[in-house]
């Protein structure tokens, strides 16, 4: 599962002989968005830090941090992040930006979720219509966010209509398209998804569906080899105005995906 992308190799610069490297674990949804391809070259140019990205799910990213395999993580699951800090694995968390989840479904919207006033109502419409809903079912950050939404809506996720697939976002979207089912996706994965056949975004915009990304530098007291210096400089860059402009300006299919919200 672990794909180590040695992106630093792609943009060697004149100063690369003296460049520092560090390892950052990020989530699949971040990598899928394409934003990394924009940020990493600029980080290298501004800070001299070449970042090795390790692309995994939120849970796995935190385990890599715990084991000292990476110097920092950029993930999206607040409760898991706070537990990570409490366990002494990171010194702090810094919120950087958010993107959002959307509910995709068949264009004819048999459960009528497009008229829903908020996320719990949209989910209640799906459940009471027992319209098929595809769940990631893979304990990913997106899956956890989906379960939290059902729980907040007071709806038990049981019955034939609820179909966990135990797979990544692309596979879940493919299954949903094949069945004409509803599915929760991060916006970026949906926009980049090639097989939209008869499906579209039917519900979006409830703040409960915002997905906060945070940066957590691994606690250097845990392992001698943790690169605390580059990790701190990367954090400074991630909350900079330069980062804000690049993050807010990033577009896929003419849509802004991420909103910078770091406090300086």
């Amino acid at each position: 599962m672990i794909r180590a992308l040695l992106l630093s190799a792609l943009f060697l610069s004149a100063g690369s002989a003296s460049a520092e490297t560090m390892r950052l674990a990020v989530t699949t949804s971040f990598e899928n968005s394409g934003l990394a391809d924009i940020l990493l070259p600029q980080i290298a140019a501004d800070t001299g830090i070449d970042i090795e990205l390790i692309v995994v799910g939120t849970g796995q990213a935190l385990r890599l941090g715990e084991a000292g395999d990476v110097d920092a993580v950029l993930v999206h699951s607040k409760a898991a992040e706070e537990a990570f800090i409490t366990a002494g694995n990171a010194t702090h968390r810094r919120e950087i930006m958010y993107n959002d989840f959307v509910i995709i479904g068949p264009d004819d919207d048999p459960a009528g979720i497009a008229q829903a006033g908020d996320a719990p109502e949209a989910l209640a419409r799906i459940a009471t219509a027992q319209a098929p809903f595809v769940s990631r079912g893979d304990d990913s950050g997106t899956h956890k966010a989906e379960l939290a939404l059902w729980n907040a809506a007071g709806i038990p996720t049981e019955g034939d209509w609820y179909r966990p697939v135990g797979a990544g976002m692309g596979a879940a979207l493919n299954t949903a398209v094949g069945m004409g089912a509803y599915v929760l996706s991060d916006r970026a994965s949906w926009l980049k998804f090639g097989n939209k056949d008869g499906m579209s975004i039917l519900f979006e915009g409830d703040p409960a569906m915002f997905n906060q990304y945070a940066y957590l530098p691994v606690n250097p007291a845990r392992y001698d080899h943790i690169k605390a210096g580059p990790a701190a400089r990367l954090e400074d860059w991630l909350v900079s105005e330069r980062a804000e402009v690049l993050i807010n300006g990033y577009r896929v299919a003419d849509e802004q995906l991420f909103t910078f919200n770091a406090e300086r």
Binding site: P110, A124, T128, Q130, A153, I155, G159, G178, G180
Partner: protein, 237 residues
């Protein structure tokens, strides 16, 4: 108000992963009556109901209402074999469909209390819905489906998980609903129930309508050997 019925299916077909679940089906449902859908397990009873209700997209053909689809959707309701109750009170579950349609809280509550009375749910309005027994839950599901006064109600094996007394109660409520003018389309594997409630019958076999007609004729003298065998309790393949 222009009626959503009759409903006309023309070559309507559902497929999943290349396999035909139901169809092609040609069928017209008029404004009154109780259509009971029967057939062996796997013959497509649930698929037919879901297709008519628009829960699944047709791969071919058409499910045509007499009004625009969006309006037709507001005029129909569906009761499942295993209903989903929201983790809220019985009262809140009853109010939910009306609130979705923009009714005020006061108006929704008044209507919920009135229908609870008809469905013998008044004593449990404050109770959390998930704590209800199977029969109570199905009465709640039926009341929640009917509170919007739909023109047509689809019911998929609504008594399959119920005991005799609860079944009798649900059947009486369904018969009363039909008598009050709501079009009923119900799938059942219980031939006694089919005989008690049906005004006409659809007999499905392998995803197609094998035989259809008025209940009296169908039960007295089925035209096809398969329907005759099915009514005799034989295994029909």
């Amino acid at each position: 108000m222009v009626a959503a019925l009759p409903l006309t299916l023309t070559g309507a077909t559902l497929r999943r992963q290349g396999k035909t679940l139901i169809g092609p089906v040609d069928l017209t449902l008029g404004r009154i009556g109780v259509t009971v859908v029967i057939g062996p397990n796997g013959s497509g009873k649930t698929s037919l109901l879901r297709m008519m209700h628009g829960l699944q997209r047709t791969a071919d053909g058409r499910v045509g209402w007499s009004v625009a689809d969006a309006i037709a959707r507001e005029r129909q309701a569906y009761v499942f074999q295993r209903p989903i109750a929201l983790r809220r009170s019985v009262l809140a579950n009853l109010m939910f469909p009306l609130r979705l349609r923009g009714a005020s809280r006061a108006q929704a509550e008044a209507q919920a209390r009135a229908i609870a009375d008809r469905f013998d749910l008044s004593a449990m309005l404050a109770q959390p819905a998930p704590s209800l027994s199977g029969g109570e839950m199905q009465r709640l599901a039926l009341a929640r489906a009917l509170i919007t006064e739909p023109e047509i109600l689809f019911a998929d094996e609504p008594c399959a998980a119920l005991d005799g007394q609860a079944t009798r109660q649900i059947e009486a409520l369904l018969a009363g609903t039909a008598a009050a003018g709501t079009r009923l389309v119900m799938a059942t594997h219980d031939m006694g129930q089919a005989r008690r409630l049906a005004s006409d019958v659809i007999f499905l076999l392998h995803g197609r309508i094998h035989e259809t007609g008025p209940a009296e004729t169908f039960f007295a003298a089925p035209a096809t050997p398969e329907a005759k065998a099915f009514l005799n309790g034989d295994i029909v393949e």
